[in-house]
Amino acid sequence: MNNVLQILKKDFGFDQFREGQLEIIQSILSGRDVLAVLPTGSGKTLCYHLPAKIFGGLTVIVSPLVSLMEDQVTQIRANGDKAVAHISSLISPNERKEILKNIQSYHMIFLSPEMLALPFIKQKLISQQVSLFVVDEAHCISQWGHEFRTDYLRLNDVRRELGGPPCMALTATATPEVEQDIRRYLEMQNESVYRAPVNRSNIYMAMETVKTPREKDAFFLDVMKKINHPTVVYTGTRKGTVYYANLLQKEGFLHVAFYHGGMTKEDRLLIQQQFIRDEVDVICCTNAFGMGINKPNIRSVIHLNLPSSIEQYVQEIGRAGRDQEQSLALLINSEEDRFLPISFIENEFPNETWLDHMLSGERIDGLAVEEVRQLYQIDETQWKMLMFYLEKENVIKKGYFDFKGRTNTVLAKIKKHFTRRQNDKITQLNRMNNLLHSKECIRNNISYYFGDDVQNYSEMTWCCSACQEFDSYVQERKGLRKGEAIKTQIESNSHQESWRDRLQSMLLRRNGDKNSE
């Protein structure tokens, strides 16, 4: 125990463990398998990074989110640990060769599941002493999870071939069904399960229903003037992010930005940074915002739409109050937008008409994948989803479609699959709807849903809008507003400063010169 704490201080520069980290690390050090359900940003990396240092040998981490994985490796390397690399489609074959050649000089290798399936990579890993096998985003292993990946089903075979090292499965969301699948497919032994309590006692949860969208806007604006910021506002649609950001600006909120998946990568990164660095204090966004973002001082999370599942709701409100300060989660529902999420679900999947058009006959057979993408101009997520299944069906060879006369079979299979997933989603949404319409304690309902111990929350000062009126929360907390976190002077300075001054302060500042701030 002392030992790990010392390593934490010496190698990572942190004074203490975050919730769950120590339990997880100790379990894995004692040779047990571990399943950990932790929200994004809670410090999952450390849970295997630290044991990797103690174990020696090689730690293999499998993750499906290739670009997040790259971020992660960049971060770790930037923090001084260079014995880390990742192997994915993002690196060139040459770089891959280099890494494999020098594999013994690394203590952590991140891999996408596709790469792990390649025989020569697997062989190379087998030749090493693999001391820990980490499965990130482990919910992908379950058909009940929202991101089922077949290549995850093969992970346990690989683990066996690697000599059966201890296994750590990590995920941010898991219903009991998903949890069970993870344990079963990874054949976990004597496993210890750590689940961050979904019950975040410093978050007051409120759900308010108004009649019309108009009333919703008025109510929202009113609330925004009374509550603490920084705030994340989930609007449901891309259009909504722009609409509400404008609305707030008109009401005199200066530091508002919007964020959605349709923005360029660069713009998304900038807005994210502005928010993290307190240059912007309200962000209106779709659920594209939040992945991998760690900002401790978010005071409020507001939903202007119905999240698509209870898991998603809990994950999104969980971004509030990471610093343990009292925070607010408010969902504003208008009776009239009840049907919106359903049409959303329908739009989420590739539309049957163009599936038919694209996949029937020999229309795209032999064409380059990129060419077809340009031709159909499909929404990116849908395209990725479709590609995923087409790849699974083995009809893509070296960037070209190659159906070998199986187009109709493939089409039928894919259609069936999408229908099933669509139905699953509707079930999930109904559960969220029930949560919204229940008159009982929200915290209670959520704990029950996740199979956590249901406690009596009536003792809490601020539990939820079923236990204490939302109005009273706002009224009583109003006096406690902290000064805005915002560096207002940045904006006012920037108006006077000429572009030359600013460029000079970026590039010509000498040591000892003051920051222009």
């Binding site: 971020d71 900038l270 340009q374 920037s494 460029l503 970026m506 590039l507 040591n511």
Partner: protein, 358 residues
């Protein structure tokens, strides 16, 4: 409506004006969004739309379609019997009115710098370099980079290693940027600098900076890119005085206008396969292979298409084209009857580089 007209409307109007009824609205949108197809590539050179090629590449298709529809519904753009589009009188008046407001700076060149994303790569490397310098000057070496791109990161690393001295490299980058910006308007220069991220201020998005340009995000981004294009051009013209800016690697896609699939066709063709054989071998339609040839005829100076059409035949078709003053296939084909195939006429049209009377 003219008050609500955005630069996006203007760009569609202006392009419609250039094309004069020879293409459908979709054809126009493909050019503006930089669709990689033989047809688009052919059209860009045919109608001399090199400047605006791919100018809307970051705009979602749905959004562009919606704006084009507004123009059609309001009768600024009208469809002719072939579904080709023309400006109506009011449409043309609107175009003239907006000409100045949404003037696309001369230094902007879509085909050179947007089509192949080279201005994007350039910016990625430049902004990462500036950010890095600014952090290193404060002895902060861990920060969230504005770009995770490997090539960008390597380039920055190489530059830092090459020059060692952070103050020196800061001075040098400053000089190179300042030289270009000092020839720009205050607005343009301010816009550019406000996009940069440093250790004390995150760069702003186009949307956040659009108040300088009528709240028009797209136009703001065009002005910004025109500065970038200028910077790249200047750096390439005078590499000696721009050691840093000319060090960036921006030509990632190789020969940029030629699609990958056409390159495959070219290879097979040069190995001696006929178009039919190539089509069979690649499991593609014959017409698709023809598209590839057209694309190569336009953009690959080394591609020899003599075996499809002789110089005399070319001239004959060109003469007819000029006489009819059209670039449309059908009327030309009708004129010749069976003498030439559609494919040959297309080759002639697309390889024609001469002047048009308007």
């Amino acid at each position: 409506m003219i008050n609500g007209m955005t630069s996006l409307h203007y760009i569609i109007l202006q392009t419609t004006y250039a094309i004069q009824g020879d293409r459908t609205i979709n054809g126009i949108i493909h050019i503006l969004r930089g669709k990689r197809s033989a047809q688009t590539i052919q059209d860009i050179s045919l109608f001399q739309l090199e400047q605006s090629a791919a100018i809307l590449k970051n705009e979602p298709k749905k959004y562009v379609d919606a704006k084009a529809n507004e123009l059609l519904e309001n009768g600024w753009i009208v469809e002719n019997s072939d579904r080709g589009v023309n400006l109506s009188t009011v449409g043309n008046m609107a175009r003239e009115k907006l000409l100045e407001k949404y003037n696309i700076p001369d230094t902007y060149h879509g085909l050179k710098y947007e089509w192949n994303h080279s201005s994007y790569y350039f910016w990625e490397q430049l902004s990462l370099l500036v950010q890095t310098i600014s952090y290193l000057k404060d002895k902060q070496s861990a920060f969230i980079p504005v770009s995770y791109d490997r090539i960008a990161q390597n380039k920055v690393k190489q530059l830092l290693q090459k020059y060692h001295d952070i103050d020196y490299i800061g001075d040098q980058v400053y000089q190179e940027i300042e030289r270009v910006l000092s020839n720009k308007t205050e607005k343009e220069a301010t816009l550019f600098v406000n996009r940069l991220t440093s250790n004390f201020r995150t760069g702003r998005t186009f949307d956040q900076l659009s108040s300088i340009y009528y709240g028009d995000r797209l136009y703001t981004s065009i002005v910004f890119r025109s500065t970038l294009h200028d910077m790249i051009a200047k750096a390439n013209e005078d590499r000696k005085n721009n050691p840093i800016l000319s060090y960036f690697q921006i030509d990632r896609d190789g020969t940029f206008t030629i699609t990958q699939t056409s390159t495959v066709t070219k290879k097979l063709f040069e190995e001696g396969y006929s178009l039919d054989e190539i089509a069979k071998r690649r499991n593609l339609k014959h017409s698709t292979i023809e598209d590839h040839v057209i694309e190569l005829a336009i953009h690959d100076p080394n591609f020899n298409f003599d075996s499809f059409i002789t110089g005399e035949q070319l001239q004959e078709i060109e003469k007819e084209m000029k006489r009819l003053n059209t670039r449309k296939l059908k009327p030309i084909k009708d004129e010749f009857g069976d003498k030439y195939t559609y494919f040959q006429i297309r080759l002639a049209i697309s390889s024609y580089k001469g002047e048009w009377s308007q």
